[in-house]
Amino acid sequence: MSDLILTLGDTSASRAPDEAQLLLHGHPRDRAALSALAGFDLSDTMLASTAGSGWHALHLSPDEWLLVGPNGGRGDMAARFAEAPIVLSLVDISDRSVGIDLTGPLADDLLAGGCPLDLATLSPGGCTRTLFGKVTVLLWRRDDGWRMSHARSYDAYVVDLLCAVAEDLASP
């Protein structure tokens, strides 16, 4: 059970489970080769995610995919890219970022309190980096709600802002 940050009626924000996050950079023309290395298809549609064998790949930039998967598989996934014959970069950012899961009917309103983005533009599986207050965050719409992840050092700010938005939403 993950740690609860706040609740607002049926809406809640809680700590996302600790997962492996590997940031993959490669040329868009090498997408097929990168997909073969990852073991599943990497999306060629911007701001969309694909999944396979317990991992997700978030297409955040034309040359960038974020691989999210089980902590135990981190080493195996990284090793697949080690001897690749194409130019790529794979950086383990699992410890750099922390995540917050937002679920419930007011999850969109909580995010809208800090995001300049029209959240309706992201359908389930959609992902993008944007701002929450002053902090760059990664938003990922999942089947059961939102995953917001951001740099660990900004976590106190993000949580404070989230609580302030929740207070505003709760006040009559």
């Binding site: 955040l60 930039s61 034309p62 980096r129 944007t130 701002l131």
Partner: protein, 95 residues
């Protein structure tokens, strides 16, 4: 606030972006050999147009990519956007 169409991410709020100066500034090919005036022009001389201006922007809090924007400096209206490395499109007027 400007609404800027990132060529990769779609329309986003201006605060997600960072301005990066005039676009299509070409670095002299033989930088070490070129004369001072050419180098100074590359470094410092800009058009400062009144009207449609091609400029570089970076989607800092998004995909992170540089791209080009044609913006009217008089009205602040964004006329068109296109990926970095592309020529200024016909829609954006003359270079």
């Amino acid at each position: 606030m400007l609404l800027i169409e990132c060529p990769h991410c779609g329309p986003r709020a201006e605060i997600e972006f960072r301005y990066s100066g005039e676009a299509h500034m070409v670095r002299p090919a033989a930088a070490a050999a070129c004369d001072d005036a050419t180098w100074a022009a590359y470094l410092y001389l800009r058009d400062n147009v009144r009207g449609e201006h091609a400029e570089r922007w970076r989607h800092t809090h998004g995909c992170g990519q540089f791209f080009n924007v044609v913006r009217d400096t008089l009205t602040d209206r964004v006329v068109t956007t296109y990926p970095a490395g592309h020529a200024r499109s016909a829609a954006g007027g003359e270079i």
